[in-house]
């Protein structure tokens, strides 16, 4: 082999290796820049006023609890929709639907995953919220509920595709064995297939929740943007303001390096840590499952 080829191969291999590690570098960079811009908050705002219930930056009230509460209430609502519908659809697609139906449904769910969230927010403003206002007799339709409904829709594709993969991975022999023992297909699904896929389904649920917490544009457009501390489930029918929406709505108007700017980055740190926890837990489940499979195989 001539030398120039050898030399080229070395460079390419180096590039490939660097790309391989790039994901770690980027996660590190993201965390670093969030800390760099967000940590000064702790020196500028007292801990007590940061974790207080009043968010009114113009008068230097930087209590982030109502924002966390807003994210929480919207996400709970979205989860209540996305989990049953997502898992149900996954079961239907993987276990019940005839082949041709599956070929139609899977791309459709993918399309839902690809719909830009700003389009959903736009339709939320124009169609969903007026409808909610009239139907539920509310002062405004731009509420946490509107956000939950749309976020549920946004989280569903994640839940469906991950849960469907998990169900698909259950060996056919499990089902055959159950059917051979006289179980109906319905019983097989509930007592054999779903339990066997439970860790994957759990991962699906977690990733769906992660997707809902992180969603920005839709919630910003339809939840009414009122940073009010939610009192209970009744808050679903009132306007709310999530962490993501706060950053998106206010970052454009703050001066770089101001207290407000630092606090918005601090909220970014909170969001980053939440997604880190959700995803590391989810991937730990996946890895454990892999290990178990390997043990069975060897």
């Amino acid at each position: 082999m001539d030398n120039s080829l050898n030399w080229r191969e070395k460079i390419i291999t180096r590039f490939i290796k660097v790309s391989g590690y790039s994901a770690i570098i980027f996660v590190g960079l993201i965390f670093y820049f969030l800390l760099r811009e967000g940590l000064p908050t702790l020196g500028e705002v007292q801990f007590n006023s940061l974790f207080a219930t009043r968010w009114y930056p113009i008068e230097d009230y930087f209590g982030i609890l109502p924002l966390i509460g807003g994210s929480l209430i919207v996400t709970i609502g979205a989860t209540l929709i996305a989990v049953p519908f997502g898992v149900g659809a996954a079961i239907y697609i993987s276990e019940i639907a005839p082949r041709w139906m599956r070929e139609i449904l899977k791309p459709l769910v993918e399309v839902l995953g690809g719909l830009p969230s700003v389009v959903l927010g736009f339709l939320g403003i124009l169609i969903l919220s007026p409808y909610l206002r009239v139907f539920l007799d509310l002062p405004t339709g731009l509420t946490a509920l509107a956000g939950s409904l749309l976020l549920g829709g946004i989280a569903i594709p994640t839940v469906v595709s991950v849960a469907e993969d998990a169900l698909d991975a259950v060996p056919k022999s499990y089902r055959d064995a159950a059917l051979a023992l006289g179980a109906t297909e319905w019983q097989t699904i509930w007592r054999v297939t779903l339990p066997a896929a439970r860790s994957g389904v759990l991962t699906a649920v977690m990733l769906g929740i992660g997707r809902a917490i992180g969603e920005t544009m839709t919630v910003m457009m339809v939840t009414g943007n009122a940073p009010v501390m939610p009192g209970g489930l009744g808050a679903l029918f009132e306007p709310a303001r999530t962490m993501t929406a706060t950053i998106a709505a206010e970052m454009g108007e703050v001066a770089n390096g101001s207290v407000h700017y630092h606090v918005l980055f601090f909220i970014g740190i909170v969001l980053f840590l939440i997604s880190l926890i959700v995803n590391v837990t989810a991937s730990a489940v996946v890895f454990r499952q892999h290990k178990r499979q390997e043990r069975i195989l060897s």
Binding site: M1, T13, F15, I16, K17, V18, S19, G20, Y21, S22, A23, I24, F26, L29, I30, F33, L34, E37, P84, F85, G88, A89, Y92, I96, L105, L108, V109, V111, G114, L115, P116, S117, V118, V119, G121, F122, L126, G153, V160, T184, W186, Q187, G214, E215, T216, M217, M221, T244, A248, M251, G252, L264, G268, L271, F272, S275, L276, N279, V280, S283
Partner: protein, 289 residues
């Protein structure tokens, strides 16, 4: 015997009800998607004409066209491709062909899963902190494309890796045994075979980038900029941000223009989705192994 029959009848009734319920749930999930697409198609089509597509916005965006936003989204998608495609494919090759099974590789995988899960607005913050301010690219196509490409990376990496892994191991062994180097094997055998899957992954990733708003809010997007960007260091309008602006920030906006903009954005995104899925299904039908 008779007893067994009767219980099995109730069992099958349960099954029928259960199946019906699941079918209904699936329809509830899927039908709204069709409704959304059709609704926007019907209400948006009347807005579409030559001036709307190729004209500049006038009268505070309440009239005229959305050409700068279309061009901006095109440039952003292109810029994202320039950065994310080589890096993403490189990373996928590393994971599929080079990476040993060890702690570092697991760490890479966890990092990729995390990148996929980071909220898009946090990418916006990161892009603002690193590209706009620290590297002083300003609010520009360059800063936005870089931000979007990091966000797109996990999609490209995971679909490409899957495509590479699907290429039978035996091809690699044969190629090596014929005296090919590792890179020659990848370049001449593995990559060509994985090309359709890779393309699908790349397009799906770029589709996400094209439709996102939050990461470009503070890194590129111009509220109203009635000229085309002249360099990568220019700010630009973009379709998703434009739709956000005209549906929340501009009072008295004609609904027709809003739906028209939504339709163009949707066509852009779903067009890419369609291309990606077509490539995938064609390649599956034609595959020799």
């Amino acid at each position: 015997m008779i007893k067994a029959t009767s219980t099995s009848t109730t069992r099958y009734t349960t099954q029928r009800i259960g199946f019906g319920l699941l079918t209904a749930m699936t329809l509830f999930t899927v039908l709204p998607i069709l409704a959304v697409v059709i609704y926007i198609l019907v209400l948006g089509t009347p807005a579409i004409n030559g001036e709307f597509i190729s004209g500049f916005p006038r009268e505070g965006m309440r009239a005229g066209g959305i050409w700068p936003a279309i061009v901006g989204t095109f440039y952003l998608t292109l810029g994202t491709a320039i950065f994310a495609v080589p890096l993403g494919i490189g990373a996928a090759i590393y994971l599929s062909e080079y990476a040993p099974e060890n702690r570092w590789t697991r760490l890479i995988r966890i990092a990729i899963i995390n990148l996929a899960g980071i909220p898009s607005v946090v990418y916006g913050l990161f892009g603002l902190g690193l590209f706009v301010l620290f590297l002083q690219f300003g609010t520009s196509i360059l800063a936005g494309s870089l931000t979007l490409s990091i966000m797109t990376l996990p999609v490209i990496i995971s679909t490409t890796e899957e495509a590479l892994r699907a290429v039978p191991q035996a091809f690699r062994t044969v190629s090596i045994s014929l005296g090919a180097t590792k890179w020659q094997t990848i370049r001449r055998i593995v990559l060509p075979q994985a090309l359709p899957g890779t393309l699908t992954g790349v397009i799906l990733g770029l589709e996400r980038a094209a439709g996102e708003t939050a990461p470009i809010l503070f890194t590129v997007a111009a509220f109203f900029l009635p000229r085309l960007p002249a360099s990568p260091l220019d700010a630009t309008m973009a379709l998703p941000y434009h739709l956000f602006v005209i549906s929340t920030q501009v009072p008295g906006m004609p609904v027709k223009i809003q739906y028209g903009t939504a339709l163009v954005l949707l066509a852009f995104v779903l067009g890419m989705n369609f291309i990606a899925t077509t490539i995938r299904s064609r390649a599956r039908a034609r595959r020799q192994w």
